[in-house]
Every structure is written in C-alpha cells, then in structure tokens.
C-alpha cells in the first residue's frame, strides 16, 4: 500500500512542479540535482585529480578541449577542481541547513505554542543573533573553531538558526488560533501530540520554503567563508578558495580562474533560491525575512 518511498516522493515532486510556481521549483530542483549528481559522481566525472598537475598541462592554460575550464597557476585542471569542489559546498550547506532546522524548528514550535517567559527569552536571544550581519558572524564563529567543513557548517548554522526559528514561530502563532487546534485542545489532546502531529505538518510548507531561501543565502555566505580560507585549505578543491587565489591572475587575463568558480556559486545559489521562491508561490507562504 506504500507503493515505495521513491515513487511517493516522485508523486510529491510531480505535484509541486505542476502547481503555481512550478516552473521555478522545477528549474531549481534541476539545478540542485545536477550539482548533487556531479558531487556524487565526482571521481568519474573529473578528468584529472584536482590537486595534481596532470602530465603535459601548462600553467594558466586557457579553456581548451583538454582542459574545458583551463588550468590554474599550478597547472591544476580547473574543471576537475570545480567538480570536486561541489562536494565541499554541498556538504557544508546541506549539513548547516539541516542543523539549523534541527535547532530552529523545535525551538520555534515550543516558543510559539507555549509562549510565556521562555518564548520571550528565546525571541530575545534569536533577535540578538539576527542583528549581526550573517557573514561577519559566520567568519567570527569559523575563525574561533578553525578551518574545516564541519566547523564551517556549525558557523553557518549559528547564522541561520534565527531564520528557521522566527518563521516557524510565526507560523505556529497563526496555526494556534486555527479552530482545529482549539478543537484538539478541547478534545483533550496532549500538547506534544498537537505540536508534533498537527502543527508541525501544517507548518512544513513554511519550513521547506525557508530551507530553500536560507540555503541559497547560506551558499553565498559559505563562499565568503571559503574565500577567507575558513572551510578548506589549499590545495583542497573549494570554489571560494579558488576564487581567492584566482583573483591574483585576473589582471593577467586569466578570467577562467574566477569565472568558473564564481558562476558555479551563483548557479547553485540560484537553484536553491528558485526552489524556495517556487515553493513559496505554491504554498502561498507570506514573505518573512526571506520572502
């Protein structure tokens, strides 16, 4: 009767793609899927190792058939570095988004539903976190923790928890006044049942939209972190890091060193943003801090 998790998932996706905002959702999903496939299949797609100069490769070679995105100042193949770099950015961003969700959503649910002093305290803490510019705070946290993909994910998590918290809380406040929630209370349903089985599913569309839009933002922030060397250490393949080293050769005409990493960052961010916007049209989620 389940019909397989995969086919059910496909059914949901088909429903999302057909409704309003479907074109945006579909484009966004296609872009994200493409990058995900590239990241997963990196060893088979990348023609060369990302951090070794292939035999016969020149330094700063412009794009050619042998090196579609050119080579960098050390002779590494830029295309291979982009392919492997997709792993880093996706790992960091997805991990940080899941962690932000895992922290922000439950806090938002509890805060919104139970209210009281706890709600006021949490709101105050989240608002003070929110007051910092994202990139500044991420840099501060990441510099304290030291460069690694996990630490970068933690830094980004701190930045985006308030977004998930605020949007979830706002949705809970709306739902709390829905008659069916009052009816559940009247019928003696325990608070956790109302929260987990009724409010959370009804808030899920909002959370998904925030996931898309906050992840798009997180990609840009992640690029900033990696530009400053807070995600990976050279010669590990990493888009932001390549951007940092590539910029030195821009005046020498080596545009491919900044163009391809920069375009990849933008395209992936666009994919998540389109997904978020498409979903928000579909579910008619009113614009919050990312609307």
């Amino acid at each position: 009767m389940e019909g397989g998790l995969f086919s059910r998932l496909m059914g949901v996706v088909a429903g999302l793609v057909r409704g309003p905002g479907g074109l945006m959702t579909a484009t966004g999903l296609a872009i994200i899927t493409m990058f995900a496939l590239v990241a997963i299949a990196a060893p088979w797609i990348a023609p060369y190792p990302p951090d070794v100069r292939p035999p016969g490769a020149g330094l700063l070679e412009p794009p050619s058939l042998r090196h579609p995105f050119g080579t960098n100042d050390l002779g590494y193949d830029v295309f291979s570095r982009i392919v492997w770099g997709a792993r880093v950015v996706l790992k960091v961003v997805l991990l940080s988004s899941l962690m932000s969700m895992a922290v922000g959503v439950p806090l938002g649910l509890i805060s919104g539903y139970y209210g009281g002093p706890l709600d006021r305290l949490l709101s105050m803490v989240m608002d003070s976190l929110y007051a910092f510019p994202g990139i500044i705070m991420a840099i501060a946290v990441a510099s304290v923790l030291g460069p690694s993909t996990f630490n970068a994910a933690v830094a980004l998590m701190v930045v985006y928890v308030p977004t998930y918290y605020r949007m979830t809380r706002a949705r809970v406040l709306e739902l709390k006044n829905e008659p069916f929630i009052e009816a559940l209370q009247a019928m003696g349903a325990p608070g956790w049942v109302i929260l987990v089985r009724h409010i959370l599913p009804n808030a899920a569309p909002t959370i998904l939209v925030v996931f898309g839009l906050a992840s798009a933002d997180a990609i840009l922030t992640e690029a900033g972190l990696s530009f400053f060397g807070l995600v990976a250490v050279y010669p590990q393949p990493d888009w932001g890091l390549d951007l940092y080293y590539g910029k030195n050769y821009l005046l020498d005409g080596a545009w491919w060193l900044v163009f391809f990493p920069g375009a990849s960052i933008l395209l992936l961010a666009l994919g998540f943003a389109l997904l978020g916007e498409g979903l928000s049209e579909r579910f008619r989620v009113r614009g919050g801090s990312y609307g």
Binding site: F180, E182, A183, A186, M187, G188, A189, R197, P201, N202
Partner: protein, 324 residues
C-alpha cells in the same frame, strides 16, 4: 429525576480584555441530569457558548473563572489542574463545534484523527484497535467506514459534522457539548444531524448540552431549556413549558421573533440592542428592552421566581403568563 451529572453553582466567567472586563457568565446556577438534552438559548454575546464550554473546564484566555463551581459527576472542574482536565476532556465530555470544516486537521485523514484521539485517551491499546473503533464510530454516525481514509476536504459539510460527532462519541463520553452544531449547515442537513444526536441521546444515554440561538429548534429537541441574557440564565425549565408558557418577557419575545409558516402571526423583532457585556444595565439586565419594565426593574436584581419545573428571574414571573 435522574442523577445530576453537571451542577453549575454561582458560576462567573469574565474575559479580561483591553477595553474592559466582559462578564460573559455572571452568576449562573444549573443542574443537568444524566441522559437529558439541555439547550442553552440566547442572542450572540449572551455568554451561552462560554457557559457551555466552561462545563468542560474549557475557558480560553483572556477568560477566567472568577467565581462559583462546576461539578462534573461530583468533581469540581474549577479545582482541577490542566493535566487532570485534559484527561477528562474528550474522554468523559466530548465537544463539537459550529463550523466542522475548520475543526478538522486538513492534512490528516478523518479516520486517523479519530483513531489518534482514541489511542491518546487509552480507549484502545493498539493502532489497529483504534482504527477499528474509529471506523465503528463513523458507521454509527452514518459515514461509511471506507470514508475513514478520506481527507476533510473530500467530504461535504454535513459529513464533516458527522465526522466531528464520530470523533466525539468514539471515546464514549458521558456528556456531549454541542456548540451551535448546525448553524453552518443547510436546513435539511441540519435536521439529519439533529436526528443523529437525538438517536445517540436515546440509545446511548448520552447527555447533550447544546448551544443555539434558534429557540424553535431548542423547543423541538430539548428536554430542558436555559434562556440566557447578558451573562445570566433568565429562565429555566422543561422545553414544553418554556415554549408553551414562558415566564420571562425575554423568552416570550424570543419566541415571537421566530417566523411561523402556518400562523398569520407577525414576526416581531426585539427592540433595542443586546447590552454591552462590559457595562450590563443595573437591576434586571433586560429592563431597557422590556415592555413590562417598571421603576423597580431598574434598581433591583429580580428574584428567582419558581415555577413547577424551573424558574425565571423576573418581578412579573409570579403572575400567570408573565409577559403576555
């Protein structure tokens, strides 16, 4: 008379709003017997819903019970903790509301919503038992068990109200509170829902407390009627007597305001507006609109004048026929 299941004594429920204290229920006494159908009738804002819901200890903020007691089967609900009340609600006192479409979770099948409540309250021990009870409850209210897998939006308004009733009776409560259960439904569906409730009352010995503004409906289905005006029950008695020979002028005017298909009697509306519940009139609260009002009505709360099967709060209730 059968045993008393709900006993309300001197109950006062006030809402503390920014624009003042709303005295929604202001000193009400009622005794409801097991297995009877009591209807609370009144205009909008008379406090009838507040009174009915407080009978299950359900007072939503900014409302508060500020005085009196509600004894349910001997237990004072006003003294129970939130957790104790929660266990009682649903299990022993069920409730259905006016707009059934708004009172069901749009994302869950109706069967799973009923089964969930059954499981939570420990009526069933396993998911499959709970599901079976949910299907049985649906059958009882006349919804085919196959509809258990339907979502609320796939059902009609009447069916949704039946589902709400099924959810309430699946737990086999002693009392069902029905807050304007048919107001949102068309007349034909309304009749069927009322018939269903009547059947449940007769066959299961269910006590029903219904809230409505429709005094004609109240007269048809209830055993006893409480007429509410501005936070007070102004008349209480058997449905037959309250409709047949009302003691309170307000009850009389309510009855006259109902259109009658068969008589040529003119429909009369009650002059004036319901009082502002934040500043109820002095003395008898009905005096500004009452055709019989005299000086005394302005200054003194009228006594409770007993009749054979109830009472009315009016200086003239003692004189036969009251407001005729």
């Amino acid at each position: 008379m059968a045993e008393t299941i709900i006993s309300v004594r001197g109950l006062k429920v006030y809402y503390y709003t920014l624009s003042g204290v709303v005295r929604a229920v202001d000193g009400v006494d009622l005794d409801i017997a097991r297995g009877e159908w009591v209807t609370i009738v009144g205009e909008s804002g008379s406090g009838k819903s507040t009174l009915a819901l407080s009978m299950m200890g359900l007072v939503l903020p900014p409302g508060r019970i500020v005085g009196g007691s509600v004894l349910f089967d001997g237990v004072d609900l006003t003294k129970l903790s939130g957790e104790e009340l929660r266990r009682l609600r649903g299990k022993r006192i069920g409730v259905i509301f006016q707009d059934p479409s708004a009172y069901l979770d749009p994302l869950r099948t109706v069967g799973s919503q009923i089964a969930e409540a059954v499981l939570e309250h420990g009526v069933a021990s396993s998911e499959s038992d709970a599901w079976r009870i949910a299907e049985e409850a649906l059958e009882i209210v006349g919804v085919p068990a196959s509809r258990a897998r339907a979502y609320p939006h796939q059902l009609s308004g009447g069916q949704r109200q039946r589902v709400a009733i099924a959810a309430a009776i699946a737990l086999n409560p002693d009392v069902l509170i029905a807050d304007e259960p048919t107001t949102a439904l068309d007349v034909v569906v309304q009749a069927r829902i009322i018939e269903l409730l009547k059947g449940l009352q007769r066959r299961r010995g269910l006590t029903i407390v219904m809230v409505t503004h429709d005094i004609a409906l109240a007269g048809e289905v209830s055993d006893r009627i409480a007429v509410m005006y501005s936070g007070r029950v102004v008349e209480w008695g058997s449905a037959e007597r309250v409709i047949g020979s009302p003691l309170h002028p307000y009850t009389r005017l309510l009855i006259d305001s109902v259109p009658d298909l068969w008589s040529r009697r003119k429909v009369r509306s009650i002059p004036g507006e319901p009082p502002d519940p934040r500043r109820p009139p002095s003395g008898c609260r009905f005096h500004p609109r009452c055709p019989l009002a005299v000086e005394e009505c302005r200054s003194r709360q009228p006594p409770r004048v007993s009749a054979a099967d109830g009472w009315a709060e009016c200086f003239f209730a003692g004189e036969a026929g009251g407001g005729r």
